[in-house]
């Protein structure tokens, strides 16, 4: 074992094979879950909610993490998507049952759309709303923008639940009997396509403009980036996918009402993307799964527990959410980068992450904590450390190498 850990790259072929294996594994797991070979219908539900939250989370990260616009209107866009899908996919025969208090408007009572059409319509409607409010709101500065978008999502909720909208949205009674997914593949594929689109956008020249705006608005504008256009684009696309995600959520839940799109939902989504890392797509996806499964695992705290015949008083419904929010608070306070920071998942990253532990452990055992933490932080793709001391060292090494080369000549 050499004295110091060296960053090594995997070759391209290995990475390709690993990627193909991962994709295959995902497909097989999805297939097995879908056919009930592994897990229960309960697991399937959690996976479904995870992929939906991953899509909405990435859409929110596009605005908040990549463009640096602090928007809190996601719940409103989700509600628009969810209601578009809900209203138009309830089978015509069931509609009288759902709209039992105020009959459905005659204009739409016989209009039933397929799931796909309704979903796209929901997304487009959300995007249209985003364009409408984006024009005034995106001119505002960060905190005002947060409050204005938050306000917008409340306005949407009020509109949906309002008396005049009853014939269309069934007001505060909510919608039910929305036909569910016929396969787990439906939400998975839609989410994957949506996320792939956003990744492509982020890696394009538009994405680079978004990131420039995030880093420094004034500098970006000076470099000739049209702030309003790019912010608007990011905002509208984000709203589109939030609408799609909301539509999927409606189908997942099969029954929705306006209370499911309160501000709390946006807060929760924000905490998901913070845990994953503001500005990391893979981080958001990992975090969406982690949080959806974590919340279910924490259900243990909600159940009553006994020592002998004595019921331990602290275990009662609600404890789980307290623990959950405490965990999230500790992430916000002590681990601000979240799981991935601004990095993305890469095979090189994983490979070196696993490889460097022997060195880290060695240094810890020999009592050299400083060195250990420096090894831990070595992450740059060319093997350079990210901290100052490490950078100086690697510069020195490169210099030596060059000297040796020139001597060899």
């Amino acid at each position: 074992m050499p004295m110091e850990f060296e960053y090594k790259k995997l070759n391209k072929q290995t990475k390709m094979i690993l990627t193909i294996l991962l994709v295959l594994a995902c497909i097989i797991v999805t297939y097995m879950l879908d056919k009930g070979m592994i897990g229960t219908s309960y697991t399937v539900r959690i996976v479904r909610i995870s992929v939906i939250y991953a899509l909405i989370g990435v859409s929110m990260n596009l605005v908040n993490g990549f463009t640096g616009v602090f928007s809190l209107g996601q719940a409103g866009f989700m509600a628009i998507g969810a209601y578009s899908v809900g209203v138009f996919t309830i089978p015509v025969a069931d509609r009288a049952n759902v709209f039992y208090l105020v009959p459905m408007s005659e204009k739409i009572v016989n209009v039933e759309l397929s799931f796909g059409t309704a979903l796209i319509m929901g997304g487009l409607l959300a995007a249209a709303f985003a364009a409408l409010i984006g024009a005034p709101v995106l001119r505002l500065k960060s905190d005002y923008l947060a409050i204005a978008t938050l306000g917008f999502s409340e306005i949407v909720r009020a509109l949906i639940a309002n008396n005049q909208m009853w014939p269309f949205t069934n007001g505060s009674l909510g919608l039910k009997s929305i036909p569910s997914f016929n396969s787990l593949f439906v939400p998975v594929i839609i989410s994957v396509l949506g996320i792939a689109f956003m990744v492509m956008l982020i890696n394009s020249s538009y994405g680079r403009a978004f990131k420039a705006i995030r880093e420094d608005e004034i500098a970006a504008e000076a470099m000739g980036i049209n702030l309003f256009k790019h912010k608007g684009m990011s905002f509208i696309i984000s709203a589109f996918f939030a609408g799609i995600g909301g539509g999927l959520l409606a189908v997942h839940l099969t029954a929705i009402d306006t209370n499911q799109f309160k501000i709390m939902v946006t807060y929760e989504l924000l905490l998901i993307i913070v845990l994953g890392g503001l500005g990391s797509v893979t981080g958001t996806v990992i975090s969406a799964f982690l949080i959806s499964f974590g919340k279910e695992i924490l259900r243990w705290f909600d159940a009553a527990h006994y020592i002998g015949a004595w019921q331990i008083p602290i275990f009662r419904p609600g404890l789980r959410m307290v623990i959950f929010s405490l965990l999230l608070m500790s992430v916000v306070l002590f681990w601000r980068k979240g799981i991935m920071g601004r990095k993305e998942f890469s095979w090189d990253g994983i490979y070196n992450f696993l490889r460097k532990w022997p060195w880290v452990v060695k240094h810890i055992l020999s009592g050299d904590y400083e060195k250990a933490s420096r090894e831990k932080r070595k992450v740059k793709s060319d093997g350079r450390a990210t901290d100052k001391a490490g950078r100086a060292q690697s510069r020195l090494k490169i210099k030596k190498q060059k000297e040796e080369d020139s001597r060899a000549k």
């Binding site: 005034p136 938050l150 009020a158 309002n162 929010s325 306070l333």
Partner: protein, 297 residues
């Protein structure tokens, strides 16, 4: 609208507006000093409502002791939040401290759901406050008449504190320029703590006045008043204390009249506040009394 109904609505609107004004002062002061929207402020207000329930219904305190207890408990909660959740992030970007505030709000709502269950709790009677009182044809609980008086008294006391005492001078200095104030030997942390103490005690008083004429407190009952009061603070010009009070009155009165004049619009009363906000931000982003700030590069 008949004269009696009109007056009745004015009284209700002014009373609601004064309760909003007290919360809005808390927002505006914290924003003025830390440049932070304290998203948890509405939930601190909600907790104060629960503290009142506990003080009176569970511990059986007389109402004057209960009010002191509620103010004290709310202040402790608010200062604790500042020390634990905002202070460690003071040097970091503004977005992370805002996220922390949202996290605290989430935590408070979840804690309230756990501790007091999600079911609405009845708000207890506080001494004479709920007795119905009649002036001419207008009848309302005494608290409705008292609220504006309390608010104005507190406003003048606060204005005196800010404009005529040393602490107030330090506060103004910190809100003008954080760094320079630090260099001048002002203890920033002490000033911030004082700000939170003031903001939270006003929120506690407001909670007692706001919930008294209303029957219930539930874990989400702080969210909407919280957001509305932030809007009130923006409306009056953020960082400006009289502005916050004016904003509170505007929103309280407008909301009451919207419901009274157009009963069909009741569902929109929350939405209306935000429409007001967006319109305001478009035409006068600095608020009614706010100063224009030049953007620094």
């Amino acid at each position: 609208m008949e004269a009696t109904t009109l007056f009745q609505n004015v009284v209700t609107g002014v009373s609601l507006g004064s309760a909003y004004a007290l919360i809005a002062i808390g927002y505006t002061m914290v924003y003025g000093i830390l440049r932070l929207i304290n998203f948890a402020h509405g939930d601190i207000f909600m907790m104060a409502g629960y503290f009142t329930i506990f003080a009176i219904s569970s511990f059986g305190m007389p109402w004057y002791v209960a009010i002191l207890f509620v103010i004290l408990a709310t202040v402790v909660l608010g200062v604790l939040i500042e020390k634990l959740a905002y202070k460690p992030l003071r040097e970091s970007p503004r977005m992370s401290i805002m996220i922390s505030a949202i996290g605290v709000s989430y935590l408070l709502v979840n804690s309230a759901t756990y501790l007091f269950t999600g079911l609405p709790r009845a708000f207890p009677e506080l001494g004479f406050l709920q007795k119905v009182y009649q002036i001419g044809d207008i009848s309302a609980p005494i608290v409705t008449f008292i609220t504006p008086v309390v608010t104005l008294v507190l406003l003048f006391a606060l204005m005196y504190l800010v404009n005529h005492t040393k602490t107030g001078m330090a506060m103004r200095a910190v809100s003008k320029d954080f760094e320079a104030a630090k260099l001048m030997g002002i203890e920033i942390n002490r000033i911030i703590t004082i700000t939170f103490v003031i903001g939270c005690s006003l929120a506690a008083i407001s909670a007692i006045l706001y919930f008294s004429p209303r029957p219930m407190v539930y874990p989400f009952s702080g969210l909407m008043p919280g957001l509305k009061c932030f809007v009130a603070a923006v409306l009056g010009g953020i960082g400006n204390i009289p502005g916050a009070v004016i904003g509170g009155f505007i929103i309280g009165i407008a909301e009451t009249f919207l419901v009274a004049v157009f009963p069909a619009m009741t569902g929109y009363s929350d939405a209306f506040t935000f429409v007001l906000l967006i319109v305001m931000l478009l035409f006068r982003p600095t608020g009614l009394l706010g100063e224009k700030i030049a953007e620094k590069v």
